[in-house]
């Protein structure tokens, strides 16, 4: 099972990305996904977590991920050294930042790309970057899920974000 932990702030769309990724993966044959937010009251700007679990068989374990294959950080101020303890061996942290790479960390400048594409948040940019570095889903899978689960007026922008981020991240 591949487990992804999303860290963001209320309003950044961490859970939307967790859900779109799950839907994209689940659309493939013999593929199952669960996606859920950290439960409880939501406040704009407060730290939030979201989870995506991906597997080739139905996922029975609904508990929160204890060790992740990927931790995706939408807001760099949420990074701390302790997050390394939440990674499985060989797991990776993908962070939206302009600063240099750290151990086990893939830095990706999502903010600049989002700004270029006139997107207010980086959720789908970082989702595209994850597809680029991991190959767990294809850009086509993500595009289809965006078609199915995002409002019409923001679909094209977000599809472009996924495409561009995946291409840039693949080169990392």
């Amino acid at each position: 099972m591949t487990e992804i932990l999303w860290l963001g702030r209320g309003g950044q769309g961490a859970f939307t990305a967790a859900k779109i990724l799950g839907a994209a993966y689940a659309a493939k044959p013999e593929s199952h996904a669960l996606a859920f937010p950290s439960f409880g009251p939501e406040r704009r700007g407060a730290p939030v977590r979201a989870f995506t679990k991906l597997d080739s068989k139905p996922i029975l374990d609904r508990s929160e991920t204890e060790k992740a294959d990927f931790i995706i950080i939408l807001d760099e101020t949420l990074y701390s050294e302790n997050l390394q303890n939440l990674l499985k061996p060989g797991g990776k942290i993908l962070i939206n930042t302009r600063s240099a790479e750290l151990k086990q960390i893939v830095s990706f400048d999502g903010d600049s790309l989002a700004k270029e594409l006139k997107l207010p948040v980086v959720n789908t940019v970082m989702m595209g970057a994850l597809a680029g570095i991991s190959g767990i889903v294809s850009v086509e899978n993500l595009h289809q899920a965006i078609e199915n689960y995002m409002p019409v007026k923001i679909r094209e922008k977000n599809k472009a974000a996924v495409q561009k981020a995946a291409e840039e991240a693949e080169a990392l």
Partner: protein
């Protein structure tokens, strides 16, 4: 058609397929999404129902009762304090034999105030005369939305039906769900027809008083109807399997219990993780099994006793505690075992209160404790002392 939906969304899809004519509800976390979705469906015309936004849960169920008394299919949904606020009406609905369906998002009860999931709300209402089912996943939630009407409205049953979904862990978790076509749903669920309605051509007295001379007969009939639901549940599931291709297993769902020495009995969305742990333990040579209770009312007393009678020990894991006694599910299970003369040692594990996570390790430890005989009669997961009994 396969969709990626949360438990709440899946349930709303199931209700759309069941075509209730009246929906009356008051929003409460974590049920809110169900009534939001249904109000959107009514607004966009995909569900031809009257959506009545009432001012409280007490009114929500009263309104649904009024609709049911007019002979139409009615739906409401609630959670936690909302369920407790409508408690008075629960008894009116069951006593009046109004086959209303209600979704309850299982959530902790105050104080301390908490919006997270546990099952203390619905389990406190076991005696209210409602059929109570507990779903494990989003697919079962949608399927129960359809089956609940079939069972509740059956002429021999005529009893309201509460479908319970674990708050957040089920209501807010997204997964793949097969959403059936409306034509299939129509084939499964006939339109609601009843003589228990206000009818100008056939005027009758409804929702009346009954003194000591006759009251007990009504109560006996309510009790008997609940048992008559058992064959109807099987009938509904057989017809459901024929049309939709998904087979359910009646009042309980047994996993590798035939030769199991250690059986964990539980209910709701935690069952999947328990089955996964049972498989892990079997790889190590420990014969573990899981019995999921799907229906708390009517209670599967005989099935439970029959399933666990050969086991060496039984654990009952529930997100509930009846203060001053033990978990209510445990009380019910113990009574079933005692009545059937089954003497397997049984232990109670209380977990997940106020939404606390029940981990892999917690479940492994439950099996370890009942295997080694080191469990107390009642054990609080995460609290060392537990109850000294």
């Amino acid at each position: 058609m396969e969709k990626f939906l949360s438990g709440d969304e899946a349930f709303a899809e199931g209700i759309r397929l069941a075509c209730p004519e009246v929906i009356s509800a008051y929003p409460i976390t974590p049920q809110t999404i169900v009534v939001e979705k249904l109000s959107e469906m009514v607004e966009d015309g995909s569900l031809d129902a009257e959506f009545i936004h009432v001012e409280s849960e007490h009114s929500a169920l009263s309104c649904a009762m009024g609709a049911s008394a007019a002979g139409v299919r009615a739906f409401t949904a609630t959670s936690s304090q909302g369920l407790l606020y409508m408690a008075e009406c629960l008894y009116y609905a069951s006593g009046g034999r109004f086959p209303i369906v209600m979704m309850n998002a299982n959530r902790s009860t105050a104080l301390p105030w908490n919006i997270y999931g546990d099952q203390r709300d619905s389990l406190s209402q076991l005696d209210s005369g409602w059929i109570q089912a507990y779903a494990e996943n989003a697919q079962e939630s949608l399927d129960l939305a359809l089956m609940s009407y079939y069972i509740a409205e059956h002429k021999t049953v005529s009893t309201p039906f509460m479908v319970n979904l674990d708050g957040f862990i089920l209501t807010h978790t997204y997964e793949q769900v097969d959403v059936p076509e409306p034509e299939q749903a129509k084939k499964f669920l006939p339109p609601y027809e009843t003589e228990n309605k206000l009818d100008l051509d056939n005027p009758k007295n409804m929702a009346f008083s009954a003194g000591p001379d006759t009251n007990y007969i009504f109560k006996y009939k309510e009790h008997a109807a609940m048992f008559r639901a058992i064959p109807v549940i099987r009938e509904a599931e057989a017809k459901f399997a024929e049309i939709f291709g998904r087979q359910y297993t009646g009042l309980t769902d047994a996993y590798k219990t035939e030769d199991a020495e250690y059986i964990l009995i539980t209910l709701g969305s935690i069952a999947g993780l328990c089955r996964e742990i049972a498989d892990t333990l079997r790889e190590k040579g420990i014969k573990a099994g899981v019995l999921r209770i799907r229906y708390m009312r009517p209670f599967p007393a005989e099935e439970i006793a029959e399933t666990v009678k050969q086991a060496k020990a039984v654990a009952v894991l529930e997100k509930d505690i009846s203060f001053g006694n033990e978990g209510t599910v445990f009380t019910n299970v113990n009574s079933a075992l005692h009545s059937a003369g089954v003497t397997v040692p049984a232990y109670n594990f209380i977990g997940g209160l106020g939404g606390r996570n029940i981990s892999h390790q917690n479940i492994i430890e439950i099996f370890e404790k009942i295997q080694s005989g080191t469990a107390s009669r009642v054990n609080f997961i995460g609290i060392e002392e537990g109850e000294n009994s």
